[in-house]
Subunit: 280 residues, 4 copies
C-alpha cells in the first residue's frame, strides 16, 4: 500500500531522524520525503510503501513521535477520493475543465455539487451526473444564497470548495461557515497576483500595456485576493492582443493553473506557513 | 541595401496603400511590413531592399506620402550604430551583459560612457575601452552628479540611455535634460510590473509567496516604474527559494529582458501610443 | 462587417500595394495585415472592416488584383463556422477539451462527428449533441474502418479533421480520401518534434532523462510525424517525474497546443510554404 | 558553518534514518535534505549547519553510517571554490558569460585557464586575469592540441571542464585523460536534445519549421550529444525568424542554460544514475 504522512511541528534538530527512524524500524520503504522549515515551524510529507493498513501504526506513531515532537499529523491513503464542491458563474471554462478532470480521474475529486449564480451550467453538470444548484446572487439575495450554499455543504460536507471563476466576493460569514465545515477554499484569479488584484484584471493589464499576463490559484482568506498563492502561470502577449484576446489567452492559463493547484491540494502536497504556501 | 521606414500618422483608410505604392513604383522590395493602429493613430515600420542610398528618395517621399498623410517619418539604414550611455550601480550584471553584447556586436550600440555611482565597474568598462565616470550620489551630491552626467551627455549626445540596474531615482530635471538631448531612457525593473513597483521587489515577492518572479524593461517617465513596458519575462520559483535565490534567478531574467528591449529599441522596432508600446 | 482576404502568389514588388490599393479605393479599413514571403512565394492575410457583404467585390478583385498577380485567393467572413470531425481513441482528454471549446464557441467549429476506435467516449459526445461513431480498428478491420470513416465524411464533408490523440497511423489511401474531400488534418503529437517522433514518446523522454517535455500540433502528411508544425509547447520536468507524471504534465500541453493550432487554422491564420507553416 | 553531505549507496529501508540520526545525535541542524532512489541506487544530499569543522566527524560518519550502508560519500564546505577550465571557440558568448559570472562570484568557480582554437578571446580572458591558451585544431594538429590541453590540465588539475560552445568533438583519448584527472566535462548543445543532435542544429530547426528552439547542457560522454542532460531551456520562435534569428535567440538560451547547469554542478547538486541526472 502507498500512504503518506503529513506532519507539522515546532522546528528543532532530530525531527527527520525521529520520523524516518520510526518508519525504518518497521521496514517501511520511503518513496518520497519532503520537509521544509521556516519561522520556527517544520512541515513534512513522507510517502511510504508498506504491507497492511497504516491504521495499525497510528497509536504507536502518536506515542513515539507525535507527542514528543508536539506535532500535528495525519496519515492518508494515497488514493482516497475527496468530496469537492464547485462554485461557478457565467464564465464556465474552468468548470468544464475541473469536471472533465474529475470524470477522467486525473484529480482525486468526487464532485458532490455545482453551485452557480447563473443557470447556464445545469446541462453541463448533469452530463457529469453532478447535482446542480442555481443560487441567484443579487444585492438582496446574496445572504440567502450563501446560506443555501452553506446548508448544502453541511448536508454533505466537502473537503474542498473550488471557486471556478465564481465572480462573487464571499462574505466573512460564508467563509467562516465553510471553515467550520472543515473545507479549504481555492480561487483562481485571472491575473498574476499581486498585479491587478480586484476586478477586471484583463482590461487593466491591457491598459498598462503588459507583455505577459498571468493567472493565480490561491487559498481564499478574508482579505480579497491576498490569500496564500498555490500556483501561478504566465503567457506572453503583444500589442496586437485586444482585451478579448487577453481573455482568451488567459482562459488557458486559468484552466491549467487552477487544475494544478487543485491537484496538488488534493494530493496533500500543500502546506501553509505564515501566509506562504509550501508545495511539495 | 537594407533600410527601414518608420512612420506614424493619424489613422485613415489608404495609408498602407500609399506607402507601399510609393515603394512599388520604385521597384523596392518589401522585406518586412508591420503596422498597427489604436486610438486614431497609426504606426508603421517597413523594411525594404533597394539599390543605392535611401537619401535620394526622401524628398519625393515627403512630397508624395509624408505631407498628404500628415505623418512623422524617417528612413534609417538597417545597420547604423547608435551612441548609448550606460548608467549602473553596484549590481553590475546587466552592465557586464550589455557591454559584452555591444562588443560582440549583438546590438547596434556604440557605448560612449559608463556612469556609475560606485567605483567598482571602472576596470570592467576599461576592458571594453569605454570611458568610465564615477559620480557618487548622496543626498547632497545628487543634483551635482546629475548635472555632471548631463554635461557628459551634452558633450557627446547619445540616442539611448540605459539604466542597467541604476538604483537611483532620476529627478524630473535630469529626465528633462536627457529628453532635450533627444535620447530615450530604458530601465530594467526587477519585478513583473505592475507587481512590486518601487523598491526591494524580491523581498516583497518572497513575503507575498509568489510562485513566479519577473523582470520588466520599460521607458522611463516621470512617474516611477509607470513608463511604457517594452519587454517582460518570468521564471518559476518555489518555497525553497530564499530572497537571495530570487535575486540570483532574477539576474538572468534582468539580463535577458533588458537586452531584448534594448535590441528592439536600437532596431527601431518600438513605438509608443498612449502609454503602451508597439513592438514590431 | 469584418472579413479577411487570404492570398498567395509568386513574390514580386508591388503585391502589398496592389491589395491595399484595392481596399483603399473602396475606403475599406484595414484592421490587420500580415504578409510573408519565402522561396519566391508570398502569402498574405488582410482583415478589413466594411459595410455590406464582401461578395460584391469579388469579381472586381479577381479582375484588378487576382489575375494580374497570378494569385490564389479567397475572402472569408470572420465568423463563419467550419464543419469539423474529431477522431479519438482511449486517451480522451483532447476530445473533452475540443468539444468543450466548440460548445463554448471558443473556436469556430461545428463538430459534426466523433469517430473513435474505442466505445468509451459515446456518452461524452452525446452530452455535446454530437453523433458518435465507434469504428474498431484491428489488423483486419483497419481498411474497412477507414472506409466507413471516409463514407461518413463524404456524406457531410468537414473542412478539418482533428486527430485528438487518435493513436492509429492513417493509411495513404485514407489521407488521399480526406484530401479529396478538401479537409485538412491536424494531429497532436505528444512530444517536442522532431524529438521522439513515433511511438511511446513519454517513455523514451524519461529514459533519455530530458528536463523538458513538449507537444506538437502539425498537419498530417504521408510521412509519419513529419508534416508542417503549427504549434509547440514545452514544460519543465525533473528526475522525480516518472513516466506517468510526464504523461499527466503532457496532457495539459497537448490540450493547449492542439487547441491553439486548431483555433489558428479555423481563423485562417495558417499558411504552408515548402513544409513550414506561416502562422499569422 | 554550512556544509553538505553527498552520499550514494544501494537502496534499502533505513538510510535516511541512519544519516539523519547521525546528524541529530550531534545536534546538527538540517537545512535542506534531498534523496532519490532508482534502479536500486539511492543518492542523497543533506545540507546542515553546525559549529566547528566537519572534518571532526568524518571518522565517526565512516564508521557509523558509511560502512554499514556500503556508501560512497563525502562532506563539502558549502563555499569551496572549484578550479575550472573553459574551452571555447569563435562563438564566445558563453565564454563571456561564464567569465562574467565567475568574476562576479555568482558561481563557485576559479577559472584557471581559457583554451580556445581561435585566438580572438585572448583579450577577454586577460581582462579577467585568466591565462589564455590558443591551441589551433586542424586535421593534423588535433591530437597535439588535445595533448597540450591535457598537459595544461595535469599541471593544475581542474574539477570541471566547461565546453563553452567549443565546436570540436573530443577524442576518446582526450576524454579518458580528463577523467583520469578527475574532472567532469559539461557541454552546451544548441538544440533541445535529442532533437537536432550533431551539427548545425539551428539550420535544421529552421528547415523543419519548429515553433520553439532549445538548448541543452549535458555531461560529455564518448557518444556524441548523448551524455546525461543536466538542464534544458526553450524559447518560442516564428516563421519570421531566419536562421540567424534562431542563432541570436538561441544565444540567450545557451548562456542561461549552461550557467544554470554549471552552477548546479559546482554546488554539488547533480548526481547521475544510469544515464539520467538527479538535480537537487
Amino acid at each position: 500500500m502507498s500512504d503518506h504522512l503529513l506532519l507539522s511541528c515546532p522546528d528543532r534538530p532530530g525531527i527527520v531522524a525521529a520520523v524516518t527512524g520510526f518508519l525504518a524500524a518497521r521496514e517501511f520503504n520511503i518513496v518520497e520525503l519532503d520537509q521544509y522549515s521556516e519561522s520556527g515551524e517544520l512541515v513534512m510529507r513522507v510517502a511510504f510503501d508498506h504491507e497492511g493498513s497504516h491504521e495499525h501504526i497510528e497509536d504507536a506513531f502518536a506515542e513515539e513521535v507525535g507527542k514528543p515532537l508536539d506535532a500535528k499529523w495525519r496519515i492518508e491513503h494515497a488514493d482516497r477520493m475527496r468530496k469537492v464542491v464547485l462554485m461557478a458563474s457565467r464564465e464556465d471554462h474552468c468548470l468544464h475543465d475541473i469536471l472533465s478532470r474529475a470524470s477522467r480521474k486525473e484529480i482525486l475529486a468526487e464532485v458532490t455539487a455545482v453551485i452557480s449564480n447563473h443557470p447556464d451550467a445545469a446541462a453541463l453538470a448533469e452530463s457529469h451526473q453532478v447535482p446542480f444548484h442555481h443560487l441567484a446572487v443579487g444585492k438582496e439575495t446574496k445572504a440567502s444564497a450563501e446560506k443555501a450554499a452553506l446548508d448544502l455543504m453541511r448536508a454533505d460536507p466537502p473537503e474542498l470548495v473550488i471557486l471556478a471563476r465564481y465572480m462573487q466576493i464571499l462574505s466573512p460569514e460564508f467563509l467562516a461557515g465553510i471553515e467550520e465545515i472543515g473545507a479549504a477554499v481555492i480561487n483562481i484569479h485571472h491575473s498574476f497576483l499581486p498585479a491587478f488584484a480586484g476586478g477586471d484584471p484583463y482590461r487593466r493589464a491591457y491598459e498598462r500595456g503588459v507583455k505577459m499576463i498571468g493567472a493565480t490559484a490561491h487559498y481564499v482568506t478574508e482579505e480579497l485576493d491576498a490569500g496564500p498563492i498555490i500556483d501561478q502561470g504566465t503567457a506572453a502577449v503583444t500589442h496586437r492582443d485586444a482585451v478579448e484576446d487577453l481573455v482568451a489567452i488567459g482562459r488557458d492559463l486559468e484552466r491549467v493553473v487552477l487544475a494544478r493547484a487543485v491537484g496538488a491540494h488534493l494530493a496533500d502536497r500543500v502546506f501553509t506557513i505564515g501566509g506562504r504556501t509550501i508545495v511539495f
